[in-house]
């Protein structure tokens, strides 16, 4: 079996100010080369999981552990997690006026390279990388040089997330509802981008509400997250079953 890239054990997390528990003992093991899909009803904790893994403020982990490639992620700041190879594609990419998309990416890449004790990327290499990777998600080169997400359409924002993923070449990518708000063409482009970036050394975790994304990115595993835990795991057919039957049967089954 290939090596474990992400290992989440018995994760309990709550919202800091409210003390409201969202994750209640979640387990997830992701190996190199795998694609996992996490599905579940609204309020199950899907986005909380992504936020906690990425290290967003406002959540407290009360129990459990998250390891990535052997490193304890909970000990690290969000930027250090990214430097270790974690990527989060945001459900709602933030608009940052005045900060150019490529300048900030270059800062990010060079900080990551410094962290890994590698040489900084030259301006020339960086620009050819931008050209190559923006083609991957058919992102207009002009958008790459505009302010981060400012004035981007919903689809452009999501494509920009995948463009950044391509630039940063992460080990583990969490895509948080990347399919939401996409029309079918944009969905195809985003999915094709993810499929091209996927290889035997990295892994992707798709958080999604709908099965349709999984027609384009075929998962190795489908997990159902309900009430803060993974309640069922299956292959891609589980997604189809969920599409047909909804989630109620699972939560009821659990109650029995």
């Amino acid at each position: 079996m290939s090596k474990v890239l992400l290992d989440i054990k018995n994760l309990h997390a709550e919202i800091e100010d409210e003390g409201k528990q969202i994750l209640k003992g979640l387990n997830l093991t992701v190996r190199a080369g795998e694609i996992h899909a996490i599905m579940g009803p609204n309020g199950a904790g899907k986005s909380t999981l992504a936020s906690v893994v990425a290290g967003k403020d406002g959540y407290e982990v009360t129990e459990g552990s998250i390891e990535m490639d052997g490193k304890d992620l909970l000990e690290l700041d969000p930027d250090e997690r990214a430097k270790e190879g974690l990527f989060l594609a945001f459900q709602y990419p933030v608009e940052i006026p005045g900060v150019s998309n490529i300048n900030f990416l270059r800062t990010a890449i060079n900080e990551i390279k410094e962290y890994r004790k590698e040489d900084p990327v030259s301006a020339k290499d960086f620009m050819s990388m931008v050209r190559e990777k923006s083609k991957l998600v058919e992102l207009d080169a002009k958008l790459a040089s505009r302010s981060v997400n400012e004035g981007f359409s919903g689809g452009e924002k999501k494509r920009n997330e995948i463009f950044q993923m391509a630039m940063l070449e992460p080990k583990v990518s969490f895509l948080d509802e990347t399919d939401s708000g996409l029309d079918i063409d944009a969905l195809r482009i985003v999915a094709a981008g993810v499929n091209k970036l996927k290889n035997e050394n990295n892994a992707v975790v798709l958080i999604t509400h709908y099965q349709r994304l999984l027609d384009y990115i075929i998962p190795d595993f489908v997990h159902v997250l309900a009430d803060g835990k993974i309640v069922k795991t299956g292959d891609k057919n589980l997604a189809l079953e969920l599409e047909e039957k909804g989630y109620d049967w699972l939560t009821e089954e659990k109650a029995l």
């Binding site: 969000p78 930027d79 997690r81 430097k83 933030v94």
Partner: protein
């Protein structure tokens, strides 16, 4: 017999200073002794206390031949160094072929028709400057002269509790185009008070720009007054970046006397510790068909306080005026504060005016977004703050100057917000 009640505070402030001899300075001195320092009961000084100045015992400057470490601040090959209000020709470098530069005492300057003509006689600090400045600088730009090079004035503060009265008189001739850079640096001055008065006449069809960079010392105070008069079809721009100084007050007063004028004011303030930075601007639209635009950004950390007061008056017959004003503020700490007061007074009916003021914190979501891409919190903050003040810095339109500003941001603030 006339009796005047003199303010004790003013008397003690002036105690030990010589009574000026020439008529211009004596007149200012006589007005001064009848005035008192402003208090927060004065609307114009509502948010700025000048006790640090009025309660200090200053000495007037003496000629010095000391070496000054100013190299890093030089952004042009044309520069004049002024130490505590006294010109240091030995450290300056300029040729007068483009800018006509003259150094004159009060008597010499008072022979000029427009000199001292537009200042407010009730204002303590301008009267103080007029009464006690030693050496004024007169800069004349010939009609039709278009000067690419910028003339830089480097005001240096040096010594302990020195009162420096810097006086500048600029005449931008008809259809001329030029710009100057004013850098105020603290060097080794401590508890000094820098009192600057700059008068500018912008003649018809002229373009004139002032780029100010204020990077004084932690203990120095400063009041800078710019009095501008604009003629027909003229363009005047003033950019002010304030990076350090215990108390900094800028008064920009622009009388738009001519039609079809454009007026631009941009400002950025980066405050920390217990700094206090106050920008008061006043645009007086006296005639029709003019445009003015103002944009000030503050980033305040520690216990620093900021004041923005932008006043625009559109006089009764000044129709077709477009006047815009924007003030944005970011408070990086719970103890920093800003008082923002835009004032539009409109007496004409065919005008377009707007003002906006926003105050907030650094966008936490944007911060996390940058961090999630591998950028450290410190650098993420730096990127966001740079972006916030970016449009102001860009208005300097000069790479050498913007580089200096970046260097000073590193030096004074280390970007450790």
């Amino acid at each position: 017999m006339m009796t005047t009640v003199l303010s004790e505070k003013m008397q003690s402030f002036l105690d030990g200073f010589p009574t000026p001899e020439n008529s211009l300075q004596l007149a200012a001195y006589n007005r001064l002794i009848e005035l008192d320092f402003p208090t927060t009961r004065d609307e114009y000084w509502k948010y700025t206390r000048v006790g640090k100045i009025s309660n200090s015992k200053y000495t007037l400057p003496e000629k010095s031949i000391r070496d000054l470490s100013i190299e890093q601040y030089i952004v042009s090959d044309q520069f004049i160094v002024i130490e505590n209000g006294l010109v240091r020709l030995d450290l300056s470098q300029f040729n007068s072929s483009e800018f006509n530069i003259d150094f004159k005492d009060a008597e010499g300057l008072s022979e000029l028709a427009d000199f001292n003509a537009n200042l407010n006689n009730e204002d303590v600090f301008t009267q103080l400057n007029t009464a006690f400045f030693d050496e004024g600088i007169e800069i004349t730009i010939d009609n039709k002269a278009v000067i690419e090079k910028k003339l830089q004035l480097i005001y240096v503060s040096n010594g302990d509790a020195v009162l420096a009265n810097n006086r500048l008189f600029i005449h931008a001739g008809k259809s001329s185009k030029s710009s100057i850079v004013i850098t105020q640096i603290g060097e080794s001055g401590e508890n000094c008070f820098n009192n600057l008065v700059t008068e500018v006449i912008v003649e018809d069809n002229a373009h004139f720009t002032i780029h100010k960079i204020q990077s004084d010392n932690d203990s120095n105070t400063q009041v800078a007054t710019e009095q501008i008069a604009q003629g027909d079809n003229s363009t005047f721009k003033i950019n002010t970046v304030t990076l350090n100084g215990l108390l900094v007050r800028n008064n920009i007063n622009i009388a738009v006397n001519g039609q079809n004028c454009s007026t631009y004011m941009n400002g950025a303030v980066i405050g920390k510790n217990n700094q206090h930075v106050d920008n008061h601007t006043f645009v007086d639209h006296r005639v029709p068909n003019c445009y003015s635009n103002e944009n000030y950004k503050y980033v305040l950390d520690g216990k620093s306080t900021g004041v923005f007061n932008g006043r625009v008056v559109v006089q009764k017959d000044a129709q077709v005026i477009n006047a815009y004003q924007n003030n944005g503020n970011i408070l990086l700490s719970d103890h920093a504060s800003i008082n923002s007061k835009p004032e539009l007074e409109i007496y004409a009916d065919d005008v377009k005016c707007s003002h906006g003021s926003t105050t907030g914190q650094l966008d936490e979501d944007a911060l996390f977004y940058l961090q999630a891409r591998g950028i450290s919190k410190k650098n993420a903050k730096r990127i966001l703050v740079s972006a916030f003040i970016g449009e102001v810095i860009e208005s300097y339109e000069d790479e050498t100057i913007t580089e200096l500003i970046q260097q000073l941001l590193e030096k004074e603030h280390g970007w450790t917000f």
